[in-house]
Symmetry: C2
Subunit: 249 residues, 2 copies
Amino acid sequence: MKPSSKCETCVLYTNSGMFCAQLADDEHADLAGQSRTLSLKRGATLGERALSSWPIVAVDQGVLSLQHLLQDGRKTITTLFMKGDIIDLREMSRRNRGTLIALGNVKLCRLSPLIFEQIMAENPKAQKVVWNNLKDQTYRAIDHSADISKKQALEKVASFVLECLYHQDAAPKSTPLVEIPLRRVDLAEYLGMQPETVSRCFKTLQKRGILEAKSLNLLQILDEDRLQKIANGEKEAAQSLPTTARKIA
Amino acid sequence: MKPSSKCETCVLYTNSGMFCAQLADDEHADLAGQSRTLSLKRGATLGERALSSWPIVAVDQGVLSLQHLLQDGRKTITTLFMKGDIIDLREMSRRNRGTLIALGNVKLCRLSPLIFEQIMAENPKAQKVVWNNLKDQTYRAIDHSADISKKQALEKVASFVLECLYHQDAAPKSTPLVEIPLRRVDLAEYLGMQPETVSRCFKTLQKRGILEAKSLNLLQILDEDRLQKIANGEKEAAQSLPTTARKIA
DNA sequence: CGGCAAGTTGAGCCAGGTCAACTCCGGTGG
DNA sequence: CCACCGGAGTTGACCTGGCTCAACTTGCCG
């Protein structure tokens, strides 16, 4: 049986580590038949009603954000979902219920809860993939908490650049290129700071010869080691230049 | 078959919604036979070596924290684990690997990974409990991110008090008592602020007649509504007194 | 090539961090 | 039973990182 045409280019199916790739042909045909792909453009939200009938969503392309709004308009991006993530909103926390908003053009697939459950019950491989993905989401959220709680602005930005680096599946290089898949404003909201501050931090990193901007969203890392140290809060690494033999206060 | 004596008082077994309560008698006997309880006193850490052979831990009593340390000594508590939580450290994020540290006297149970896996594969009810617990951990982490990123000090503290309130399983009351299960220092590290600031915030909430301190760890909520509003960032609710007919800027 | 949104730069200000002194409380021994 | 001690928490005074607001520049799309 051939895969449903809409699945042919979807990473969930083509990437051997992802959910749909674990399914037997008949399972896949079942699921594909009962599921619906969806394209979102930047800023589009996945509304309540859409979610109540399709609470399970898998991300194919693009970055989806979970946003939280305070009464006075302050906005926070609490998590990012990227390709391969499976989001089950049925038991979304009642306290801080957020909104799913696309940060770029996003392609996703709304899975039939019924068939999804059925597959989860019967297919251990698929179950394992979903399980690991959820654990990964948990740890990402925890790491993110660590990043935004005690770190200062420059350290947050450094952490984020590294997070992007590690996330993209290219082979390690000495001066790797990193793509930042978010606008500055969104990045600011994700890191809990102001766009102006984000901008200043990037500039600082460039002035110190740690990064080089190829374009707004494309950075070359010139000194990964020092970037790492800044992200980890080593104050020395944050100094402008290697002033030889500086006294540590 | 009677439950292993060590399990008789453990919430994981006695609370009908928790993991061990889902097990058939023989499953439970298997698991209990291969698992080890452990008591930690405040400050004790669950070391690397202990975890490598016992990577799966269930919390019975007390509060366990996952801490993250920066190079220069800044500490952050990224998550709290409480009774009923099941922690699987086998795939702990490599990036920000943290340390598990007890924040009070903690009782936990190290589960045999082998038997745990076996039960997970065979017992759908148990699987569901673990699954929901993990989802809950994820959403807690996400909520926590929202709390610490854009909120200011007073709002963070208000959120935390409410989180404690909702977490403790008592019937709703008009002026409920809340137990804060953390020391001030730990609370500060969890909320990403300084102990001094935490102290000032509690004092502010008392001065405004929203809270009353019964003791350091026991608070009475006098005005839950206003507390809620502060936690949600409504600037008006944060005003000292209901200055009648104040103009909104 | 014009127009608008996104991003950057600069100047001033304030929430909360920092440091140091003080108080409170529980435990311990005389 | 009380005096003493040490750690936890609080208070006050000061200082600074990053927020705010406003003006400016850049990049993108028709």
